[in-house]
């Protein structure tokens, strides 16, 4: 007995068939069941597709850089137009000042000649 326990176990543990009724139900159930479709992988599933993650990160970085450059250029354009306007105002003030100087000189000359005429008389 002790020496053939393994062979007795092998003999005793021969596979047994399920009942025919159950087998038919099993087949019907398995065949009626549609296999589940694998879920589509998300673009950003980092473990599954690392290249997709890098591609998305690169695109995002490019977009951020483009927006930054655009804002910088817009800032420069506004600064340039501000300087231009300042130059125009200074020029206008200079011209006005010249005109006022001329008018002042004319008025001054006229009043000097009137005084000379009075003293000559």
């Amino acid at each position: 007995m002790s020496q053939d326990i393994e062979s007795r176990l092998r003999a005793a543990l021969r596979p047994v068939a399920p009942s025919e009724d159950f087998s038919q139900k099993l087949l019907a159930r398995v065949l009626a069941d549609q296999p589940t479709q694998p879920k589509p992988r998300r673009l950003l599933s980092a473990g599954a597709r690392p290249w997709a993650w890098w591609l998305t990160a690169s695109l995002a970085a490019c977009l951020i850089a483009a927006v930054g450059v655009r804002q910088h250029l817009e800032q420069q354009r506004l600064q340039q137009s501000g300087l231009e306007a300042r130059r125009e105002v200074v020029e206008a003030l200079r011209v006005t000042s010249q005109k006022l100087n001329l008018a002042y000189e004319a008025v001054k000359n006229q009043s000097t000649s009137l005084a000379d005429e009075k003293s000559g008389v």
């Binding site: 326990i5 176990l9 068939a17 139900k25 159930r29 398995v30």
Partner: protein, 188 residues
């Protein structure tokens, strides 16, 4: 299983993967006996074994694309069946082996062993821990070597060997005890 049958089942597996339902039926027919026997002897109840067998094949239906060959399919089925059975047994606080259905062919009727000894072996098997029971079934029912058992149960090979050694020693001692009792009974 001979090479011709294995090749045939490899072909059927390829067809089943591509959606041929009749090929899936062939695979179920080929493996239902092994899956059901494992489930029955692990759980000790025909109803639970039928439920588990059905669940395992339904799970297979959704995992066919991951199965590479008929050999892999056998490994996968044994692994899923034993793991799920062990989980079920562990969920139960205490396995009530008195609820076993004695009218079911828990052991094969094809052998000429002593029916009393069969019943005794059945009782001894059901007294083992779920893991030890799975190891013994994979060894003596499925005829796997300890390396394959270790892979199937995701268990270190030394643990498999130790389960086998301890379980066989226990069964041997208790069988000798039973034999001695019967000798005494027959002599009186």
């Amino acid at each position: 299983m001979n090479d011709g049958a294995a090749d045939l089942l490899d072909d059927e597996l390829a067809k089943a993967r591509s959606g041929v339902r009749t090929a899936l039926a062939v695979l179920v027919q080929a493996h239902r006996r092994a899956v059901y026997s494992l489930a029955l002897r692990m759980l000790g109840s025909r109803d639970l074994a039928e439920d588990l067998t059905q669940d395992v094949f339904m799970q297979l239906n959704g995992n066919l694309r991951t199965i590479e060959s008929n050999k892999h399919l056998g490994f996968w089925l044994r692994r899923v069946t034993t793991n799920r059975a062990i989980d079920q047994l562990r969920r139960r606080a205490r396995v009530q082996m008195t609820s076993l259905e004695d009218d079911q062919p828990f052991f094969s009727a094809e052998d000429d062993s002593d029916p009393l000894l069969q019943r005794h072996l059945r009782d001894l098997l059901s007294e083992l821990t779920p893991a030890a029971r799975a190891v013994l079934l994979l060894r003596y029912q499925e005829d796997l070597d300890p390396t394959d058992i270790a892979q199937t149960l995701d268990m270190p090979i030394n643990t498999v060997k130790s389960h086998l050694k301890r379980s066989l020693e226990t069964m041997r001692e208790k069988s000798l005890g039973m034999q001695a009792t019967r000798c005494e009974d027959s002599s009186t």
